[in-house]
């Protein structure tokens, strides 16, 4: 049996991935116990596991999880709606596109998180600040990939539309948009990464609300197992988001 055949056995890749995770956790446990890794910097996985209960009950972890999740959710909705619409607008109006595309690309790599004082002044120390910052950080890739997807539509598909006398809006919704969908999803996934990082990062930075603040607190108390336990929940948020977006993608693009 060759390697690609192995990869096609249902469940095997997932099982392998999970196996790697378990093995590395075990490796850390052993290395820390053996004193190779300093246990005051990296807590033992068993300690982290033991601290879950404490963190969940004493630190109101579920409420924080829900808060962080909500902030991520709103920011994700915003980057989708605003990013795709702006991308479509820029694609449509060539002058605007030429005028702004470089700026948008520059914004994509700019550390917008440093602008948090400005947002604090505008929106106060609130969830709104966090959502807006995450939105600003995740927006550029969605815009850029939407433009790329729409303008990458194969010429012949547009000609098919023209030959059937499609109106402008039919051309957009029935041909350009579905043709751009795969690329738009690439942009959404990229944007979502920036968004999720920024939600937790800004919570941490302005010491407000959800999991980010909890990590801040626990780290300051030098509760390392607790800190890592909270980080596990941050990872859980991203996992949930990516599973959901992949489900949506499969539902919208059953062809591949």
């Amino acid at each position: 049996m060759n390697r690609s055949a192995l990869a096609r056995i249902p469940g095997l890749p997932a099982l392998f991935g999970f196996g790697c995770l378990v093995v590395s956790i075990l490796a850390f446990e052993i290395l820390i116990r053996a004193g190779v890794i300093n246990r005051f910097i990296v807590p033992m996985p068993s300690q982290i596991a033991a601290s879950f209960e404490r963190v969940i009950i004493e630190e109101h972890l579920l409420e924080r999880f829900v808060l962080t999740f909500k902030e991520c959710f709103y920011a994700a909705i915003l980057i989708t709606l605003v990013g795709v619409s702006l991308g479509a607008l820029l694609h449509r109006v060539d002058l605007l596109r030429r005028a702004t595309e470089t700026w948008v690309a520059a914004a994509a790599s700019a550390p917008t998180v440093l602008m948090y004082p400005l947002f604090l002044v505008i929106f106060g120390r609130s969830s709104t600040t966090i959502i807006m910052m995450a939105f600003v950080a995740g927006l550029p890739p969605v815009i850029l990939k939407t433009i790329e997807g729409l303008s990458g539509t194969r010429r012949v598909l547009i000609n098919v539309g023209r030959s059937f006398n499609l109106t402008q809006s039919q051309m957009f919704w029935k041909i350009l948009f579905p043709a751009a969908m795969p690329t738009i999803f690439v942009g959404l996934k990229l944007g979502l990464i920036f968004t999720l990082i920024n939600v937790v990062g800004v919570e941490f930075l302005i010491n407000f609300g959800g999991l980010g603040q909890l990590i801040n607190d626990l780290a300051e108390r030098y509760d390392l197992p607790g800190t890592y336990a909270a980080i596990c929940f941050v990872i859980l948020v991203s996992v949930v988001f990516f599973v959901v977006i992949e489900r949506i993608e499969r539902w919208l693009r059953p062809a591949d």
Partner: protein
């Protein structure tokens, strides 16, 4: 325009069309300005395709066939001369003209039946009705059972049949095809030719096929126009008097061979001229 007035214009024009043809090109020329000077892609072409006729245009590649296709299809709206369909001048995509493109043109995000029913969806036909109609055309191109497959699951020949069915579903008065089978292997091409012949028998569809394949042209056509290479002019129009209904078996007959030889003599000159010009250009470019 109201339905009634459309109907009257239509009947008023039918008698004129019988003699003049459904598709008429009158002294059509198309030039493209390019940095290296003007390219005359189509040069003073006049022709007339009658109702129900299968007309082919054959010529070496680069002679202006696709330009002709795009002008008649209304995708190139600026041209010199006159192109009319049922008496109306072509200034943009005309509802009576259905186009099948050379490149793969199925929508990858739609299943076969969703692809084929696309023009009906645009017309606003309800789903049940347009699916019923689409099934009819899917059957016609021999893709029964593949209704719910996506193009990525089909072979190249099947995808071209999906494109053909999609265009047929819009029930055009004239079916225009630009080298629809060019990318396929010879056997598939001959068998698809049979399919096209069957469809032709059934629908009496007025068709203009653009091709560079002589066998295909002779197998399918009532008349063949041979084009010259640069500028693209009419070199000769050949009547193909082979009995109908035809199948691909006709390819073996003497009469068939005779036509092929005749057209090859014409085409050979043009094709070799195209070849030497191409090479000449490549040499000048290389030495520049």
């Amino acid at each position: 325009m109201s339905v009634a007035s459309m109907a009257t214009t239509h009947t008023a024009k039918t008698s004129a069309q019988d003699s003049a043809g459904l598709l008429v090109l009158d002294d059509l020329s198309k030039r493209f300005p390019t940095p290296e000077g003007t390219v005359v892609a189509v040069d003073h072409v006049s022709l007339s395709v009658k109702q129900g006729e299968f007309f082919s245009v054959i010529g070496p590649s680069g002679c202006g066939k696709s330009t002709l296709f795009n002008v008649i299809g209304g995708l190139i709206s600026e041209y010199e001369g006159n192109v009319t369909v049922a008496g109306e001048r072509i200034t943009g995509p005309h509802p009576s003209v259905g186009m099948v493109f050379q490149e793969e043109s199925t929508f990858p995000w739609r299943t076969v039946i969703e692809n084929v029913s696309f023009p009906l969806e645009i017309e606003g036909m309800p789903k049940a009705k347009r699916y019923e109609k689409a099934r009819h055309f899917i059957h016609m191109v021999g893709l029964d059972g593949f209704e719910n497959r996506y193009p990525s699951e089909l072979s190249g020949g099947m995808r071209q049949r999906v494109s053909l069915a999609r265009t047929l579903a819009s029930e055009p008065k004239i079916l225009l095809m630009d080298e629809p089978f060019a990318a396929l292997d010879e056997q598939t091409r001959l068998l698809l030719g049979d399919k096209v012949l069957q469809i032709q028998e059934e629908l009496k569809q007025t068709t203009m096929l653009i091709t560079h394949n002589i066998t295909e042209a002779v197998q399918l056509s009532d008349r063949i126009m041979v084009m010259t290479y640069r500028p693209g002019k009419v070199k000769r129009v050949v009547d193909i008097n082979l009995p109908r209904p035809r199948t691909s078996e006709i390819v073996g007959s003497d009469a068939f061979g005779h036509y092929v030889a005749q057209i090859w003599t014409d085409l050979r000159e043009e094709a070799s001229r195209g070849l030497t010009e191409d090479e000449g250009r490549r040499v000048t470019r290389a030495t520049r």
